[in-house]
């Protein structure tokens, strides 16, 4: 910031005004970096770069499943580095044997660009889980499809890096940076199946529409900057607490544009049209990651930008989220029941779920955030499980996703069919599965916030969407198989479940049942994962002459009528 201002001041003194730029010899204050807060990001990002470098330098030396094992280890490492952060945020003085260093409680780091609170750590862990499951599912898939290589895993890790940056962002520019890191990797992931033309098409569609949505988001950020004079959420919040901008329109337009950009990422309804095509075309493990990790990151961005940064403007953005939630739930459920392709049906069900999560978010209350996080956590397992079954059932070529291909699935593959039923029932919100508790939490949050009508819409859409899942179950259990050979010799058509995918499916099933029967533990953790905006504690070294521009907010430097800037 101030370096740019200095350059501008040298080039044309009339362009900028302000105390920092007027100084004749500018000194640039280097931000104090709290490395431990950045560790999850660094582990994921450097892990990806290291994998790419090593495999480029020594090609063909990686053993079978080596990439997947490496990716699982890196993601586990990132989660392990996030665990002490959770302890620090909750003011534990030690985690196991380790002493945790103060400051305790939520804190922000890197000159207020990164915020570490329960929410960001929770989402970090969730993205780590999504990466692990995505790597386990992909291991055999990539070999089966003949596209094995480090690229998938590198992109998966890079995309997760972006997701974690989004979850920790305390600054709209940092949020955008995370969004782009996340998205660009996923665009390529969607197109990674070189032999399937649908995959290429999905990648291109996602790229073009995603590029548009990123532009919308960035334009919104620019508008917000124009209205408030800052992109830092802490500074924006502090400014808005002191004075309401006279030219409100600029800020509201900015918020609207940002909502478009983030709404695209979570596939909320007016911006959902890409998702069925992309989920269908993209390789199934990639679709699993998009529905879990990318969605979690998108909701993290929404929560941080809207709930934290613009909490005072809740009465302005709540109606918009209300509409998005209602439309997502209804369109997802109603259009979903007409689908004859299982992956497309799952895509519409994912839109429906996004509606439920938006419903929790629009409550703009701690209970709403708890509901959102619980929903995200349980949904991650259910959707990865569902797409995991689709990965296996798609067979070589990844093309057998028609409802007709699932006929008689229960006789050829009874175990997989049973798991699929569990995941589908979970998604429909069947009692004793985690989906029920998640939907309950979301609806309860909406009712608490007084959005009765939205809660009713949610319940109706849950009833409609149950038909999507029942249709698949009926195809698996009650319809005869198309090929008589499969009917006569069911064992011949049995799919061999590889170890990695089997492990992922069992983990997802255990989570779906476990969080359904005993939801209290996860609910408590989700309740403790509250998002907080903390002003950067001004370090002693930087509190001198030019420190104010980079660290804590000095309200006097912000013009009283920001739009005249």
């Amino acid at each position: 910031m101030s370096s740019l201002a200095a350059v501008l001041a040298q080039a044309a003194p009339g362009l900028t005004a302000g105390p920092a730029a007027a100084a004749p010899t500018p000194t640039i204050t280097v931000p104090d970096i709290e490395w431990t807060a950045l560790l999850p990001i660094l582990v994921l990002g450097l892990g990806a770069v290291l994998l790419l470098t090593l495999t480029s330098l020594a090609r063909g030396t990686v053993t079978r499943s080596g990439y997947a094992i490496y990716t699982v280890l890196v993601a586990t490492g990132a989660m392990a580095t996030a665990a002490p952060l959770w302890g620090r945020v909750h003011a534990w003085d030690h985690l196991g044997k380790w002493e945790l260093s103060p400051p305790y409680g939520p804190f922000s780091a890197v000159a207020g660009a990164i915020g570490v609170d329960g929410f960001s750590v929770f989402i970090t862990l969730l993205i780590g889980v999504a990466v692990i499951l995505g790597a386990l599912l992909a291991d055999d898939y990539l070999r089966r499809e003949g596209i094995d290589g480090p690229e998938y895993y590198v992109l998966l890790l890079l995309s997760a890096t972006g997701g974690v940056i989004m979850a920790m962002a305390n600054d709209l520019i940092v949020l955008f940076l995370g969004l782009e890191t996340l998205s660009i990797a996923v665009y390529v992931l969607a197109a990674i199946h070189l032999k399937r033309v649908q995959s290429q098409e999905a990648g291109l569609k996602y790229f073009v529409l995603g590029g548009f949505s990123s532009a919308f988001f960035l334009y919104g950020v620019a508008m917000v900057y124009g209205a408030t004079g800052s992109t830092n959420l802490v500074q924006i919040k502090d400014l808005l607490a002191v004075k309401v901008p006279t030219h409100n329109a600029l800020l509201l337009i900015g918020l609207g544009l940002m909502l478009v950009g983030l709404g695209f990422k979570v596939a909320a309804v007016p911006f959902h049209s890409w998702s069925p095509d992309v989920y269908d075309g993209a390789p199934s493990p990639v679709a699993a990651f998009m529905a879990s990790g990318v969605k979690a990151a998108g909701f993290a961005g929404l929560t941080r930008a809207f709930l934290l940064g613009f909490g005072q403007f809740a009465s302005d953005w709540q109606p918009v989220l209300y509409f998005l939630a209602a439309a997502s739930m209804l369109v997802g459920a109603i259009v979903g029941i007409t689908q004859t392709n299982v992956k497309r049906a799952l895509a519409y069900s994912s839109i429906n779920h996004a509606g439920f999560m938006l419903m929790a978010l629009q409550a703009a209350s701690p209970k709403g955030v708890t509901g959102l996080l619980f929903y995200l956590a349980t949904y991650t397992f259910m959707t990865v499980g569902s797409f995991g079954i689709a990965t296996l059932a798609g067979r070589t070529g990844d093309g057998h996703h028609d409802l007709a291909d699932y006929r008689g699935f229960s006789r050829t593959n009874p175990a997989l069919a049973g798991l699929f039923v569990l995941f589908l029932l979970g998604q429909s919100g069947f009692p004793l599965t985690s989906g029920f508790v998640a939907k309950f939490g979301s609806i309860a949050a909406a009712v608490d916030a007084g959005s009765w009508h939205l809660a009713v819409i949610g319940m109706v859409s849950a009833a409609i969407s149950a038909f999507i899942y029942l249709r698949i179950i009926v195809a698996m259990y009650m319809a005869e198989s198309d090929t008589e050979a499969a009917e006569k010799a069911p064992k011949a058509a049995r799919i061999k479940v590889p170890f990695g995918a089997g492990l992922a499916l069992v983990a997802c099933a255990l989570a779906t049942i476990g969080f359904g029967i005993l939801p209290n533990g996860l609910n408590r953790v989700a309740g403790e994962a509250e998002p907080v905006l903390v002003k950067e504690p001004v370090p002693a070294a930087a509190s001198g002459a030019d420190g104010a521009g980079l660290t804590g907010l000095d309200l006097t430097t912000i013009p009283t009528t920001p739009t005249t800037r």
Partner: protein, 177 residues
């Protein structure tokens, strides 16, 4: 908002100038339409063949690598301007950035982006059968109909590999051991 007025004025002037130039050239220029005049390139030799042409995809890869460096240089310029003020921190940051950019270059070279000439297949294939040797796979002309005892013993398991396998099989079969 008033500070944006010069930008608006400049924008209007730019559009007006463009429109004016077009208008003047349409109204004042003498018209002499002929087929040669309507051709995409009016001057020079009349094109004898289609402009689109096949060219090796390697050129595209080289162009992509060039863009990688291009982007890197773009980010180097603002850093170089405030190099002294940023000091060691700036040097470290730009070093990390350059390392990451070069990393992509390592990947490109590692995957043969700069290898010219006919494409060499680097398919990692599973070894088909440990019994297969040069003598067992090569089919001998005139071997049919002779007593089986004369055939090499290992011919039978490799029999389903049709003749002509050698045409597309010159990848490194044994590399994946």
């Amino acid at each position: 908002m008033s500070s944006y007025l010069p930008v608006l004025v400049l924008f209007v002037l730019a559009v007006a100038f463009g429109l004016l130039s077009l208008l003047v050239s349409i109204t004042l220029s003498p018209k002499a339409r002929s087929q040669a005049k309507e051709a995409p390139y009016e001057c020079g030799i009349v094109p004898g063949r289609e402009a689109p042409e096949r060219f090796p995809v390697k050129f595209f890869l080289v162009a992509m690598i060039f863009i990688v460096f291009d982007i890197e240089i773009i980010f180097f310029f603002p850093w170089a301007v405030v190099f002294r003020e940023l000091g060691g921190y700036g040097l470290a940051v730009i070093g990390i950035f350059a390392a990451l950019v070069f990393e992509s270059f390592v990947y490109l070279i590692g995957n043969g982006a700069l290898e010219w000439g006919p494409r060499q297949r680097q398919r990692r294939a599973e070894i088909v059968s440990p019994d297969r040797t040069l003598t067992s796979t090569i089919r001998r002309v005139g071997a049919e109909g002779r007593p089986a005892a004369l055939e090499p013993a290992a011919l039978a398991p490799a029999a389903h590999h049709a003749p002509g396998h050698g045409d597309h099989g010159h990848g490194d079969h044994g590399a994946a051991a």
